[in-house]
């Protein structure tokens, strides 16, 4: 039951975010600062999701080579930067994770 409510809530907020500006009357102008701030939303939000998954081990910051998720993430970032192929990035990251796990 709670899960259905969660689903309803997610549906409503997500649609509201998509529709917000498309449903505004055409004559309403958006402030420039607001538009500029919106440009940084995707990169900031997405990085805030994945960075802790790479840098934290059991809730503690870990920059040691024993943190194989950080190493595999670095491989994935390099592949994404060079080739920009999402599927290749995911495959390279998973392969690297298994490799580093086997190595250390």
């Amino acid at each position: 039951m709670t899960l259905w409510l969660t689903l309803l809530g997610m549906t409503l907020v997500t649609f509201a975010e998509r529709a917000a500006f498309l449903l505004l009357p055409p004559q309403v102008e958006l402030p420039g600062l607001f538009r500029r701030a919106l440009r940084y939303v995707p990169a900031a939000v997405l990085t805030a999701i994945w960075a802790p998954e790479l840098l934290l081990q059991k809730g503690v910051l870990s920059l040691a080579p024993g943190n194989e998720r950080l190493l595999a993430g670095a491989v994935a970032i390099a592949v994404a930067w060079r080739f920009r192929v999402p599927f290749g990035t995911i495959l390279a990251g998973l392969a690297a994770l298994h490799f580093f796990d086997w190595m250390f």
């Binding site: 709670t2 899960l3 259905w4 409510l5 969660t6 689903l7 809530g9 997610m10 549906t11 907020v13 997500t14 649609f15 975010e17 998509r18 529709a19 917000a20 500006f21 498309l22 449903l23 505004l24 055409p26 600062l33 607001f34 538009r35 500029r36 701030a37 919106l38 440009r39 940084y40 939303v41 995707p42 990169a43 900031a44 939000v45 997405l46 990085t47 805030a48 999701i49 994945w50 960075a51 802790p52 998954e53 840098l55 809730g59 910051l61 998720r69 993430g73 970032i77 994404a80 930067w81 920009r84 192929v85 999402p86 599927f87 990035t89 995911i90 990251g93 998973l94 994770l97 298994h98």
Partner: protein, 236 residues
Amino acid sequence: MPPQSRPLRTEFQAGLRAGLQLLIAIAPFGLVTGVAMAAGGIPPAIAMAMSVLVYAGASMIAASQLFFDGAPALVIVLAAAIVNLRLLMYSASIRPYFGRESLPRRLAVSYLLVDNAYAHVVGRFGGRIDAPGKFEYLLGLSLPVWLCWQVTVAAGILVGAELPPSWKLDFAAPLAFIALTIPLLRDRASVVAAASAGIAAVALHGLPLRAGLALAAAVGILAGLAAEKWLRVEAP
């Protein structure tokens, strides 16, 4: 044939072609999302309903992880709202193109506004906000993308529960987010925004109710704005 319908059909077909080429990227994301929902313990019926109603993979993966951690419903909804904040940016950015369409069409555009659809519409019509066939192009693009998404999510949900944990497929979720992030880092201000948000998210991860995610996003946005201003002063 009325004179208008030929370019409109051409745009629909162009969208269809673009959409079909996207499937190689959509299919793995759909699979990863389905697997993540199954691994997070979301029942198949709800997971599939979420795929159709929410239709935004990143928030569905984030919701699955939070659900698995036992987060309350309100926290999951708020986290989804933050993850999908980028859709608000798309909505604002795409408004000049569709702002004068009829209400049903604007509602359809809203529902279909996902990362790839946004990028392709802006890429094809960049600046030509009065060009005919924008809606038809979006429709053509969204048809294969939507179908492929639903089918691969369903496949992911079906196989997800069966896959052994030793495959470490849970790591596919952050990898999918990395694959989404890196192409966004086109200028130094965006890199500053992403790096600041990442560092802040690590520093603030211990805060209750996933407040760290919202705060880290705010830090990143402010850092991006500051970098933009500062770099402009630096430039000759």
